[in-house]
């Protein structure tokens, strides 16, 4: 019985990971929106974009997981500094 899925389809785990990465990218962009200075915002957006694009082609699941953790840490740091700056 041959599988009817196309060759390039992702497995469930890969699909979920992809969704997670996109979610983190979206949250990152939303947090960057709250930065007060326009030049800082541009710099952070370019930094986030280049970081995500650089590792776009990684296929090793563990490596991807590590990168997701790193990205979440960066995001948390950014959110904490923004909260401190606001208070």
């Amino acid at each position: 019985m041959s599988s009817r899925l196309p060759v390039a389809a992702l497995s469930l785990k890969q699909f979920l990971q992809r969704q997670k990465v996109l979610g983190i990218y979206r949250n990152m962009l939303r947090t960057i929106r709250q930065v007060p200075d326009e030049a800082d915002r541009k710099y952070l957006r370019d930094w986030a974009r280049s970081e995500f694009k650089r590792n776009k082609d990684a296929t090793n699941q563990d490596a991807i997981r590590m990168m997701i953790t790193q990205a979440s840490n960066h995001l948390e740091e950014l959110q904490k500094s923004l909260a401190l700056a606001r208070s």
Binding site: R18, L22, Y25, L29, R30, R49, K56
Partner: protein
């Protein structure tokens, strides 16, 4: 003597409101404005009310129509124009190849990260948040226009 000073102050304040009156007369043909102004002048000259009371009365004479602030109403055409404008400003899209039916990934060669950026730009343009689940399904400008028209209750 105080009454005379007050009278002069009232006249100098009433003059700009008289200038406003003709505009409002054009909007609402009514004789009422001029009558109330005259009544007000005599009223101020007669009595010894507090100054801020007169000023507040005078300021209410000048404005006859209410003015609310709001954005211009959305139509499908304006939504489409704004969406295409934002897309043309995006640096990874070639503006000549862009059409309302061009698919971001298949026709324009963008990837999912670019699509996230595009949807964020749309959120900024229209001022409301698009949740993740629905954002990842929007793959052509036509779909974006439909989604926004849906959310903003724009029918035609």
């Amino acid at each position: 003597m105080a009454a005379r000073v007050l009278q002069q102050c009232v006249r100098s304040l009433a003059r700009p409101s008289l200038r406003l009156c003709p505009v409002n007369l054009a909007l609402r043909p009514a004789v009422a404005p001029t009558v109330t102004v005259h009544r007000l002048l005599s009223f101020a000259a007669d009595s010894r009310r507090t100054r801020w009371l007169e000023q507040s009365r005078i300021s209410s004479v000048g404005v006859f129509c209410r003015q609310y602030g709001d954005l211009p109403p959305l139509t499908i055409e304006t939504i489409k124009d704004r969406v295409m404008y934002v897309l043309k400003l995006y640096d990874k899209i070639n503006p000549e190849k862009l059409q309302t039916t061009s698919h971001f990934m298949k026709d324009l060669g963008l990837d999912s990260l670019d699509q996230v950026e595009i949807i964020m730009a749309m959120e900024d343009e229209f001022g409301f948040e698009i949740p993740d689940a629905e954002a990842e399904k929007l793959m052509t400008p036509e779909e974006i226009v439909q989604y926004i028209a849906d959310k903003k209750d724009v029918y035609e």
